[in-house]
Amino acid sequence: MSRTVATDAEILARWKEEPAPLLPLLHAFHDRDGFLSESSIRGVAETLRIPLADLYGTITFYHFFRTFPPGKAAPRVCDGPVCKTRGADALLAALEKDGATPMPCAGRCDEPVPVLIGDTQFVGAADGSLVERETPRPAPRPDGGEECVFAHVRDPARRGIDGYLATVGYAGLRRAFCEWTPERTLEEIDASGLAGRGGAGFPTGRKWRAVAEAAGGPKTIVCNADEGEPGCFKDRVLMDHDPHATLEGMAIAARATGATRGFIYLRYEYPHTQAILENAIAEAEAHGYLGADVLGSGQEFRVYVRRGAGAYICGEETSLLNSLEGKHPFPRNRPPFPVTHGFEDTPTAVNNVETLCSVGPIVARGADWYRGLGYRGEGHGDHAGTKLVSLSGDVQRPGNYEVPIGLPLGTLIHDWAGGPREGRTVQAVTMAGLSGGFLAGDALDVTLDEPSIRAHGSFLGAAGIMVFDDSRNMVEVAAQAMSFFAHESCGKCFPCRIGTQRLTERLTGAAGPADLDAWTAEVADIGRTMKATSACGLGMAAPLVAESLVRRFASQVAAHVGEAGERGGERA
């Protein structure tokens, strides 16, 4: 079978006039050649009028873009905190002959170890065997309670538009476009209490209202599908098995704000998801739910999928916007905020996948219904709505769970997920993926809502929870976590750029004082300054790992500093 290979000129012409063209252009060359050659980089720079040095620097920012072969063909093996405990190192060694290199958490912690080869994601085992499998579907909710975003996700027909429509899909969109005014939609979202499910928790209605009221345009809806937080794999299951729910949420957001274009910024590690989303977009356009004139309303709304290239920081909304625009993906200084100066300086709402997937059901069934899904257990009052939790690590049934906000953590771990392995106890859990650091001891009594978790110096965030049982060395886990943050620090602000490096060195034992008091003082000083002065959430959150380790696992830390000191000998 012969396949025509696109020429440089054809690729450049294909994307030149598209919105947000840089990433798809680079991917087109990366896909064709397996790496980004000097001549293709020169062609892109000239076509998009980006200074060569600037483009070259930007390309080096993304860890999946390679400027030399074998590049894309070489396997990438997840070495995230859970995969590390499931044979990632052995798998990496087994694939070394093929040029395998590690990649940070690739969002499949419920079914480790993901391996990316080209545009296929496999599930690997320690012996080097690889199988290709669909994203796991969540188990039925153990207590039989009502769900919002997972209500239909287990239905195999739901991925196609017919199945989606058969399960009340696009009812919310129809109401927002044909029955309600944008103001009415905004009021309903306000009343639902829906807040950003990507972790920041900003009230969705307020964000949309700010975009609706902002001057200038065209306005933009950006779906943040750059699910990069280690231990988080919830958006993946939504997009893979219920892609129209994301599109419906985006379209309702567009109606409420007056936006005419939308982007889904998808993380690189979910290649199959891009095809699923693009297929869903085509279906929705064919049925009039997206396109030049949505349901005859006169409003245009088009959605484009843009794939990242490996950079955790691009999940930070202003980095994401810079990335979309083809700029170096440093976070922007705020104010101004994206709601007034977002994509190409136009008013923009950036919403997480889960947030958007909640919107359709809220509009279709009402704010009161959604609020009523919150936890109503004994002694718990006013929790509104639900939250997806990605639970992984040392539990019997890892996976995604849609929990009523306010559910006790213990109920989730022990009753819903079967608790730790036989004969083991829960030593610690991470919060917000890794960003919330560790909870242990008494703190495991928290309920799954921000006030409860924040009272313990952590936060729920995007609600990745990794469980570590009493067989794990928590200093090692913390060192892996911190080296992730160091790997992903963008390098813009000093406290994060240097602080994540120094904390990593102290947690691995590569450098740092041999005296415990001096070690602790350095770690505390770095953490305090990072939290107070870092320019974005990465640097503010990263020290929580070290801080919670020192607070909750003092004896493991003392042993580590002692051993590292002996190994280091004369090291200061």
């Binding site: 200074p51 060569l52 200084n333 000093f494 240097i498 350095e522 002065t533 200061a572």
Partner: protein
């Protein structure tokens, strides 16, 4: 709007501000000496170093004053014990990644480099001294890879072992010079200033204007021409003058040790250039003290060889040549090009001489650009 709405409270003192002014700018005007390493008043505020953080009443975390606009009634504290502790920690972190700190002898201020490296090269050392920064805390890997022989241009030393990734060089190149010759490669601790394809500067779009050198706060980018003069004895002295090359009128400081010129630095407050220079104004001053420089007139003998002569003899010879050309071929056979290195008065004299003396307008100047 009443007058009162255009004030903020700076460390308790009510002070006015102008629309659009940042908290840092207001603080500077009121001599608060808020520290910074990534700030250059000519560039868009970037917010990288976080040293300029201040406390704003009502906000949970300190904010970078360089990127925060003043708003009416804002209550700002620029110097509290907590802020000063953060600043010291930040400076100790920065010192820990630099080769200069690692190599500093015991007791020396971390970050000390020779001031001939560039105009702003003392900024890190000055702050390290002010905050009594220890060069020993936060020890660990160093960042940056110096390009010694790998970039053998005659002008700019890329000594990135000293780089602290403030990106002033990248920003001045883009925002002021418009060259976009350098950018940021990699990320996090592995950040490195690069060119297109990590090439030499001479293979990039760099014009060797030297602005990156002069804004670098650590001397990581250094003036190679000046560094030849490090061992010349004597105190550095600066003499303000105007660049003699072209008609723009860039203000420069001629840097001398004793009688010897050791560097040229742009005047950051020069009204025509605001710290900018071109490759000639910045780096082409060797001729002033060059051994081959002509110090007496020469005339050519019958044998065709040049020999030293008196000014009278040389001028007579020149006058004879002009007369001969004028007599044989007329006024328009004469064409004068004034040197760009000549001062304005000389240029004026040249055109007067040609126009009034010979009656032709055939005049030009080599610095027409």
């Amino acid at each position: 709007m009443s007058e009162r709405q255009h004030t903020i409270f700076l460390d308790g003192e009510e002070v006015p501000f102008r629309d659009g002014e940042t908290v840092y700018e207001v603080s500077e005007r009121h001599r608060r000496e808020v520290p910074t390493l990534c700030y250059d008043p000519r560039l868009e505020a970037f917010g990288a170093c976080r040293l300029c953080v201040v406390e704003v009443e009502g906000l949970r975390n300190p904010v970078a004053s360089c990127t925060t606009k003043a708003t009416a009634g804002m209550r700002v504290n620029t110097r509290t014990d907590v802020l000063e502790a953060h600043r010291k920690t930040l400076l100790e972190l920065v010192a820990s990644e630099s080769r200069a700190a690692a190599e500093a002898p015991a007791g020396a201020v971390p970050g000390t480099v020779d001031p001939l490296r560039g105009y702003a090269s003392q900024e890190l050392a000055t702050l390290a001294s002010r905050y009594e920064v220890s060069g020993e805390r936060f020890a660990g890997a160093k960042s940056g890879h110096s390009k010694g022989a790998d970039d053998d241009n005659p002008f700019i030393l890329r000594d990135y072992d000293l780089c602290i990734s403030c990106y002033r060089c990248v920003r001045v190149c883009a925002e002021r010079e418009g060259d976009y010759a350098i950018s940021v490669a990699n990320r996090g601790f592995h950040t490195q200033i690069t060119t297109e394809f990590d090439s030499k500067l001479s293979d990039s779009s760099c014009t060797f204007c030297g602005q990156c050198v002069q804004t670098c706060p650590t001397g990581a980018l250094a003036d190679k021409k000046a560094l030849r003069k490090v061992d010349v004895p004597g105190e550095l002295q600066k003499t303000r003058t105007i660049c003699p090359y072209c008609g723009v009128g860039c203000s420069v400081d001629i840097v001398t040790k004793g009688e010897e010129i050791v560097a040229v630095q742009p005047a950051m407050d020069g009204p025509a250039n605001e710290g900018a220079l071109c490759i000639k104004g910045q780096f082409a001053w060797d001729h002033v003290q060059h051994g081959d420089r002509l110090k007496t007139p020469f005339v050519r003998g019958e044998d065709g060889e040049l020999r030293p002569a008196s000014w009278d003899e040389a001028l007579d010879r020149a006058a004879a040549g002009f007369r001969k050309a004028y007599a044989e071929h007329g006024a328009h056979a004469i064409y004068a090009i004034a040197s760009g290195r000549a001062p304005h008065e000389s240029a004026y004299t040249v055109q007067k001489f040609i126009r009034a003396g010979f009656g032709t307008n055939y005049i030009d100047n080599c610095s027409r650009a």
